[in-house]
Symmetry: C2
Subunit: 590 residues, 2 copies
């Protein structure tokens, strides 16, 4: 096996020493589980990822879904893989026993998913959408709608989608116009068009349930008028199913994620489409946003996994490919060396590792926050929740943006061969680009972080972040990690706190641009800081060891602190100074 | 016309005020030309680019070349476009009248090519390869080989290729094994395999001439044993052509540049392939490198042009697409605005402009250096040549690396639609990636800049660079440009000089890694500095003006100096400190 997709030893190290799983398993809710059971679950997913999912990745990328006679067909391999995925329990691993789940800690479920995502993002897209859609119904739906849909979705008999985006509104959900007219029997007639509906039709299961945002007749304009509906492609009637007037209008030709169809869908073209309300009228966006935060962690995990697969491919290639000679011994009689011997190739590999493993540690930490936020002692839950809120836009964005660069480095290491479709890096590079766009673009994440997450509730989220980073710095000092790293992270945190105060004060005074004009730079600065924190934690866990594994991680920590952490200050300077080049420039000046 | 590809006003501004063309036209060699004639040439190319080449770009990207019965077919549109391109004079615009050229200044030829490259890189690839291959024969070939090939290539009756790379050797040309056996009649029997041969076969013209590197029997190992041959697919015999045993073995499936076939080619599989020596035996690499430097400027120009097309597409989209509301007026009753009203979208556009127009100014300056290097007073030519040597790896790399980011921003601005193949940014993003690889990867450019260009001839090239930047700083001060920009560039230059001295001294002491271990960071630092210089020149030329055009350029200059020039110092710190994270890490630690 040439590409492990994810490094098992690093995952074990994360769970053993960096962010110990044992602390999670001590929560009362997880007392039923032990490390062995978690290890068995992870093992089964690892094996399936490497032996079944990954071999289907390239075929599903090349032979894309087709659209004929109004129906979408996915690759035949997808049809065979789906029931095996369901059987592994991935739809319900972290759900409660009440809905047939294992109630595994989210951190375990996330780590397992990383393997599956690295192996075949399109298949995992279908898993994630179905699980999330069912979870929405579980969390907000009444007994009737749960009775109709929940079991069948969690059992993988029907799949789910998120039907949010409309062509004219894009990310601006408040402008959506899909309508819902009460029919008197508790259902609503749905009418409207949605776009970018991933997994919106296929031949894998008998039905697709679209979790759809729509506006009930007479509802107010904007986000407060939006409600959530379960709209199946075929509706349950008397124990059977009948057509529900849901039409695929378009199969989009995507840059990547080519195994998973993305569709334009019309609801109620013939006036005969029914939706079941999920939650209260007007609360659709609230419900969707709870799910959205989970989905954003999922995007970060997928981005991390994609970058990881590309990184391991590059390591493998750099070891196998011989070309050129060491800088100090260039004579033609010297035999060519493996390109990993060239310093600049190792630079690209170490940068990839710093991005991939830093992102993985962070994503795992975020899942752990979710576990503590649900199951820690009640008085401590709020703090975990606030911390997770702050981390979410970073977990979503850093792996997507830096992971894109990381995938590009994998292609670059492959040289001219990397520029052909015979080698996989170009496909991962294509896949990765979506992650900076879907579930809220990078621009939107910046506004979310600075305009909402770090300032809400008296800045409690930021305080919680600074506290856990402070604790890690103390632990790192204790473990004997290089003081310069600890000091650098300490200073960066103090600067973040100070600048956030300044920006927040501007917002309070109504200076919206003064506060948010550099939200992108703020998000980047926070990301570099947070990933610095992760590398400090990794260095702390590796302290005192002199083996290859530990040396390789210390080198990546050193790299991150030498190259990226020093950028935090200058980025915050831009925020504080309110550098106004693009803020004040008129649109006509382009 | 929605996408102008290149901004005519900016080009005129460059030629009028930033790097005045009049100074070039005053050279004795160009006395025959005036601005009007240059303008006519540019106008004809602009029109052709927009009206003929660009409409063929998407079809040629989608319907790729085919490979059947051993022969490659390009898109039918390519067959029609080729004679029209030849008629426009692009093959010989900058060549001497002796070979049928116009002897236009290179700067004019380059600007014209930018339009054609932005419109359709694949077609221009065929132009560039043919023109360069012919130029090699013109510069190094004896009368016989010139008589056989030169006219037919410059007239576009036959096309040319560069056949350097071999599968096992890649960038390490010294390891190539293609052999050449003297046949006694002045020709050599060629035998070997080449890969990544762009334009290596097609149905457009009657013949293809491969400028091929091979090793004459008994030649020494390494680069000194390499000679250059013209190897036609069909060889001239008695006024006719006969098969020359050149076989296409493979059509590579590329990520981008899909209009231009890239091939594996076998010479002499039946032992009946003849090559004509070009230049002296053993001098093949020297000859190829003269051409390579020109080709590297060409790569930079292509990368600039591709990023420019993507930038203009993004501006257009950002003006047309309405979505969301201003940060300060978010109510649902407010009508949605064009996304260019959002600060973060303007950030992405201004960053693209800073990259695209900065790269364009630099590329144009490099072409101008080539003009002065050939035709200035003899005592000044060497200095222009050294300056061009130093600029070449930067001109090659900056537009490729930053242009890739710029193309990604264009896709990002298009949101979910940008992730579909219905919109052009994804195609330019694919095209752009090649530019960091071919004609020497970014890693190789870093070694070339630091290991050769800035240190050779007593550091004369770097001195020449610092002198012209110093003169620009003085001119900018005189024109009233913000002193902070001038001071920042001055300091950056002083730091570059100091660190280069330190690194050079390490090299002299045999500390190769201490010198070259951070050649990538050095190249990046130099690039940011050199592009800063271009933006200072643009700001100087726009000084005193208050119109939209000037404000838009001042904003980009301000942006570059706020965001990128401050990175020069920290990057040089890494070089000076010899930060050793990846330098000392063992390959097994990955």
């Amino acid at each position: 096996m040439s590409n492990p997709l994810i490094d098992d030893r690093f995952v074990d190290f994360l769970l053993d020493a960096v962010h110990p799983l044992d602390a999670v398993l001590e929560l009362a809710a997880y007392r039923e589980h032990d490390r062995e059971m978690c290890a068995m679950y992870l093992d089964s997913l690892r094996r399936f990822a490497r032996e079944a999912l990954y071999p289907s990745y390239a075929p599903m990328d090349v032979e894309q879904p087709t659209f004929e006679g109004g129906r979408v067909k996915m690759h035949p391999r997808a049809v065979k893989l789906w029931p095996r995925l369901v059987e592994l329990g991935v739809l319900t691993a972290a759900r409660s026993e009440a809905v047939g789940g294992f109630e595994l800690p989210r951190v375990v479920s996330l780590v397992g998913n990383l393997y599956l995502m690295a192996a075949n993002g399109s298949m995992m897209g279908l898993v994630g959408l179905t699980s999330s859609a069912a979870h929405l119904i579980e969390a907000f739906g009444g007994p009737e709608v749960q009775g109709l849909f929940l079991d069948r979705m969690y059992r993988g008999e029907w799949t789910g989608t998120m039907a949010l985006t409309e062509p004219q509104a894009g990310s601006s959900l408040g402008d959506l116009t899909t309508s819902a007219t009460p029919l008197g029997d508790g259902t609503h007639a749905i009418r409207g068009s949605k776009i970018f509906i991933s997994g919106g039709d296929h031949q894998i299961t008998g039905n697709v349930v679209h979790l759809t945002l729509a506006r009930i007749d007479g509802a107010p304009a904007g986000t407060r008028g939006i409600s959530l509906f379960a709209v199946p492609a075929r509706r349950p009637v008397d124990g059977g199913l009948e057509d529900n007037d849901v039409t695929v209008t378009q199969l989009l030709h995507k840059v990547g994620w080519r195994g998973l169809p993305s569709l334009g869908i019309a609801f109620g073209e013939r006036g005969d489409c029914r939706g079941w309300l999920v939650g209260e009228p007007g609360q659709g966006l609230r419900a969707m946003f709870q799910m959205m935060n989970e989905a954003r962690i999922g995007v970060g995990a997928q981005a991390t996994a994609t970058a990881s697969a590309a990184y391991h491919e590059a390591v493998h290639y750099a070891r196998e490919r011989t070309q050129g000679r060491p800088l100090a011994e260039r004579g033609p009689t010297r035999a060519p060396v493996a390109i990993i011997e060239h310093p600049d190739v190792r630079r690209m590999l170490l940068r990839q590792r710093a991005i991939v493993e830093g992102a993985m540690a962070l994503t795992l930490y975020a899942a752990r926050c979710a576990d503590f936020g649900r199951h820690d002692a009640p008085e401590r839950r709020a703090s975990h929740g606030l911390l997770l809120d702050v981390l979410t836009p970073i977990v979503k964005t850093f792996p997507a943006e830096y992971g894109y660069e990381s995938c590009a480095l994998s292609l670059q290491i492959h040289g001219g061969y990397g520029y052909t479709t015979e080698y996989p890096p170009e496909a991962w590079l294509r896949d990765q680009k979506l992650n900076t766009i879907h579930e809220g673009t990078t621009g939107i994440q910046g506004l979310d972080l600075l305009g909402r997450k770090v300032t809400q509730k008296g800045g409690g989220g930021l305080k919680a972040l600074l506290a856990v980073v402070g604790a890690e710095i103390a632990a790192a000092r204790e473990a004997g990690v290089d003081e310069r790293l600890c000091d650098a992270l300490q200073s960066a945190g103090e600067r973040i706190a100070a600048v956030t105060m300044i920006l927040g004060a501007r917002g309070m005074q109504g200076d919206v641009h003064g506060m948010l004009g550099h939200s992108h730079d703020y998000l980047t600065a926070m990301s570099l800081y947070v990933i610095g924190w992760q590398w400090l934690a990794i260095a702390r866990a590796a302290a005192g060891r002199s083996d290859l594994f530990a040396r390789g991680r210390r080198a990546a920590a050193q790299y991150w602190f030498a190259v990226e952490v020093p950028r935090v200050g200058p980025l915050l300077d831009l925020c504080e100074a309110g550098e106004d080049s693009y803020l004040t420039l008129e649109p006509d000046a382009f």
